[in-house]
């Protein structure tokens, strides 16, 4: 396969450094053999490596400089996407996306006190943060939120259930999106708060831990609200956009690696006296995958700049990117297994780890079908 693709065609020196150090750390400390070990690990990711990622700035790209971050105002989203691609190439476990989404939310919508309290420790990796958004049997639109937020004397009480919360068991901090009387509302809730209980889910992605989180009469201070109560709609959209950009980048990394494995295999594997990759019946399929993959990087690149720069087309751009990337990543890796034949179906062969990640990513933060439909809503709403 030709040289590795990346979200930016021409990386700046800083971006090259971020990419190279991330790649080196992952290759040395978390190759696929280690990823396989972590499948049976109680935590699911390596806390030591998580901190080392913090040293490289993995959680600092969306944090302003005065709070120990690398940039101001989400200006580092493209850099975060470059890291996410590398994590995807190695099907890396751990809540990179969720932590970055929470970091961006606190940076953009938090009070000065909240920024001071949370951002420096998120940026170093000391605080693991995750986003509790989706609710069982609801879709990804904020209209479906039902976790209740009730005002009491000195604060609020949360009740309800969230699902697909990444690495909830390891998280120190939850960003919880609920519904107050006035509308959607978000709170920063410490994992130690009374009334928070978690239950692990069985995940298609063996290198990713998702949980159901139940909030039973969880009391929070008024100061725990992120932004004005009842007015979180804009923040939720922004968080989703950031999550989708990072997810698309990760998916692209995983898809490219899966395709590279397949192309190499088709060069090495011989049938009827010649490499199977020389048969047009197979090579044309791989060429089509290469084509849609290039398009995936193109649309993710556009979306990352659009969201980073808060361009007017950002809501449409991320939906387009995810609709494309989600659909083609699983289609490509499904066919990569088919192109391998029997070996592709075995547990010991790594391909299914990549395929599993793309299956999970296709539907989390919104499926291509949901996002494609909502694209028309977005355009009509803007018109």
């Amino acid at each position: 396969m030709d040289s590795r693709l990346t979200v930016e065609l021409a990386l700046t020196e800083t971006q090259q450094l971020i990419q190279a150090t991330t790649r080196k750390l992952l290759e040395e400390r978390c190759p696929i053999t280690r990823v396989r070990e972590l499948i049976d690990d109680p935590v699911g990711f390596d806390p030591g490596l998580w901190s080392q990622g913090g040293d490289l700035g993995w959680y600092a790209m969306l944090v302003p400089e005065e709070y120990g971050g690398a940039g101001a105002d989400s200006s580092g989203l493209v850099e975060a996407a470059i890291i996410s691609e590398e994590l995807g190439r190695m099907v890396h476990p751990g809540p990179f996306q969720a932590t970055n989404v929470v970091a961006a939310a606190v940076a953009e919508f938090g009070s000065d006190d909240q920024r001071q309290e949370f951002l420096p420790s998120i940026a170093t990796g000391q605080t693991v943060a995750t986003w509790a958004y989706l609710e069982p049997d609801h879709d990804w639109s904020p209209g479906g939120l039902s976790v209740s937020v009730t005002a009491v004397d000195s604060g609020y009480v949360l009740n309800g259930t969230k699902t697909c919360v990444q690495d909830a068991a390891s998280a120190d901090l939850f960003l919880v999106t609920g519904r107050a009387l006035d509308g959607p509302t978000q709170f920063l809730v410490p994992a130690t708060a009374l009334g928070v209980s978690i239950e692990p889910l069985e995940c298609v992605d063996l290198a990713r831990r998702l949980f159901e989180v139940r909030f039973t009469d969880v009391r929070v201070d008024a100061a725990a609200a992120l932004g004005p109560v009842g007015q979180a709609e804009e923040a939720i959209e922004r968080q989703r956009q950031i999550a989708l950009v990072l997810q698309c980048a990760e998916t692209n990394g995983a898809t490219e690696q899966g395709l590279a494995i397949t192309v190499q295999y088709s060069k090495d594997r011989v049938a009827f006296g010649r490499p199977i990759g020389s048969y047009q019946a197979l090579k044309h399929r791989m060429a089509e995958h290469r084509m849609w993959l290039e398009a995936s990087f193109a649309t993710t690149s556009h979306a990352s700049h659009s969201v980073q720069g808060r361009h007017l087309d950002a809501p449409a751009a991320v939906r387009i990117a995810k609709a494309h990337v989600g659909k083609w990543s699983t289609a490509i890796l499904h066919d990569c297994v088919q192109l391998h034949g029997g070996i592709g179906m075995t547990w010991e062969y790594d391909l299914h780890l990549y395929f599993r990640r793309t299956i999970g990513n296709e539907v989390l933060y919104g499926s291509p079908y949901e996002l494609t439909k909502s694209l028309v809503d977005v355009v009509e709403g803007a018109a």
């Binding site: 396969m1 030709d2 040289s3 065609l9 021409a10 192309v263 088709s266 060069k267 010649r274 490499p275 990759g277 020389s278 048969y279 047009q280 090579k283 044309h284 791989m286 060429a287 089509e288 290469r290 084509m291 849609w292 290039e294 398009a295 990087f297 193109a298 649309t299 690149s301 556009h302 659009s306 361009h311 007017l312 087309d313 449409a316 751009a317 939906r319 387009i320 609709a323 494309h324 079908y369 996002l371 494609t372 439909k373 909502s374 694209l375 028309v376 809503d377 355009v379 009509e380």
Partner: protein, 415 residues
């Protein structure tokens, strides 16, 4: 790169010269006008405009001075293309500038270059390409048109097809077989053929959608001078390879003789709302399936544009070889097919019949949504697989045998 003359103007001075000449002498683009207009009016207008560019001393920017050009480096070409963006360029000269001219510069002898290149620059000659044949297009090196030496002349016989603007061209660059007793790549020669030569019959080719931009030519005992050979005799495949690289490079950079209009350069995400209007008119706008289809068509067209931007930039920066253009051609075929399907599905009966001049001709969109023009999707996929992914070639039966011993198609349509 051609040497830059010591009295080259500054870039800024050249920009001002181009700008002031264009504003006084060349018409602006008219929104909605076709990119190419292959008729008497279109060809004549392009010759007039090209003549004007030549009179203003702003064309042939990188062509050496001895062939009538300005002898400047490619930065000046970029300046010209930028300044020309809002103007109607002589796009019917696209083959001449994008393909023939650089191929001639690379392979033709001095006499040929001095004879023909100035007439491209001054607007005299529109050129077309005689490559594909009715007997085969993808397997170009297997072509059947033959050229035989007869004293002072070459005598050509055969047929060509898929020539853009063949009926309005003055010259063709023509690949023909000069030695059938060697393997197919080794017996080809590239010729210059005057289109007014006795024995050339140009027939417009009518496509399924009714368009007639392509032609087919019959070549019957056409005599051309012995020295109308580009490069060496029996070395035509090398010339053809250069030609195809030039073509791909131009497709990658943008086929137009000007840069894209600045107003359109960075418009972000923009949608064709024809489908949405149709859905509203037909009461389907609330149907979630229809909304998903409309969204899908927007995703496809947007991602296609984004990929064109990325791949052309990658080729310009050397991140992708010229074969990267195959990604774009293959993708436009796949995208077009799906958009054709979606149009049918939303349009329903409207795809079958419409009032003349009314509506989007959804059925025609489906009818003509193939990945064939400019090289079939299958050939693009071969290029991606073999050149970008490095997959091995299929074994072929024809690389080492003399051409005369190969199994060949006959030329269809000839009695």
């Amino acid at each position: 790169m051609a040497a830059v003359s010591t009295d080259a103007p500054t870039l800024e001075a050249f920009r001002l010269k181009v700008r002031s000449w264009l504003v006084d002498h060349v018409p602006l683009k008219v929104p909605g006008e076709p990119f190419l207009q292959w008729d008497d009016e279109g060809a004549a207008r392009s010759k007039r405009i090209q003549r004007t560019l030549w009179e203003g001393g702003i064309t042939g920017v990188t062509v050496p001075v001895e062939y009538g050009g300005l002898g400047l480096d490619s930065r000046y070409e970029v300046v010209f293309r930028e300044e020309a963006a809002p103007y109607r360029m002589p796009e019917e000269f696209g083959n001449a500038f994008n393909v023939v001219l650089p191929t001639m510069l690379a392979h033709a002898d001095e006499e040929l270059k001095k004879r023909f290149i100035p007439h491209i620059l001054n607007g005299d000659h529109i050129w077309c390409q005689f490559l594909s044949e009715p007997s085969g297009g993808s397997d170009l090196a297997g072509l059947l048109t033959r050229a035989e030496r007869d004293g002072d002349i070459w005598r050509l016989n055969g047929a060509k097809i898929w020539t853009t603007g063949g009926n309005y061209s003055d010259y063709a660059i023509c690949l023909a077989r000069t030695d059938p007793e060697v393997p197919k790549h080794a017996g080809l020669t590239m010729f210059v053929v005057p289109m007014d030569s006795p024995g050339i019959t140009v027939v417009p080719l009518r496509l399924t959608d009714g368009s007639q931009d392509f032609c087919q030519e019959y070549i019957d005992d056409v005599s051309i001078p012995a020295d109308f050979v580009v490069g060496n005799v029996n070395d035509g495949w090398r010339v053809a390879t250069t030609l195809m690289v030039n073509e791909r490079t131009a497709v990658g950079r943008g086929w137009s003789l000007a840069a894209r209009h600045a107003e359109n350069a960075d418009q972000g995400v923009a949608f064709d709302d024809g489908l949405l209007e149709l859905a509203r008119r037909s009461g389907q706008e609330g149907d979630p399936h229809v909304r998903a289809l409309i969204g899908e068509s927007w995703v496809l067209t947007t991602v296609q544009q984004q990929t064109v931007q990325r791949v052309t930039a990658a080729m310009r920066q050397g991140e992708l070889p010229g074969y990267g253009a195959a990604l774009l051609k293959a993708m436009s075929g796949a995208t077009g097919r799906r958009i054709g399907e979606i149009g049918m599905e939303v349009a329903g009966y409207r795809a079958a019949a419409w009032k003349p001049g009314d509506g989007r001709r959804w059925g025609i969109g489906r009818l003509s949504s193939h990945g064939i023009g400019g090289g079939t999707t299958e050939m693009q996929l071969n290029a991606i697989a073999e050149r970008l992914l490095g997959l091995p070639r299929d074994p072929s039966n024809d690389r080492d045998l003399p051409f005369s011993q190969l199994r060949k198609n006959t030329t269809p349509g000839r009695s």
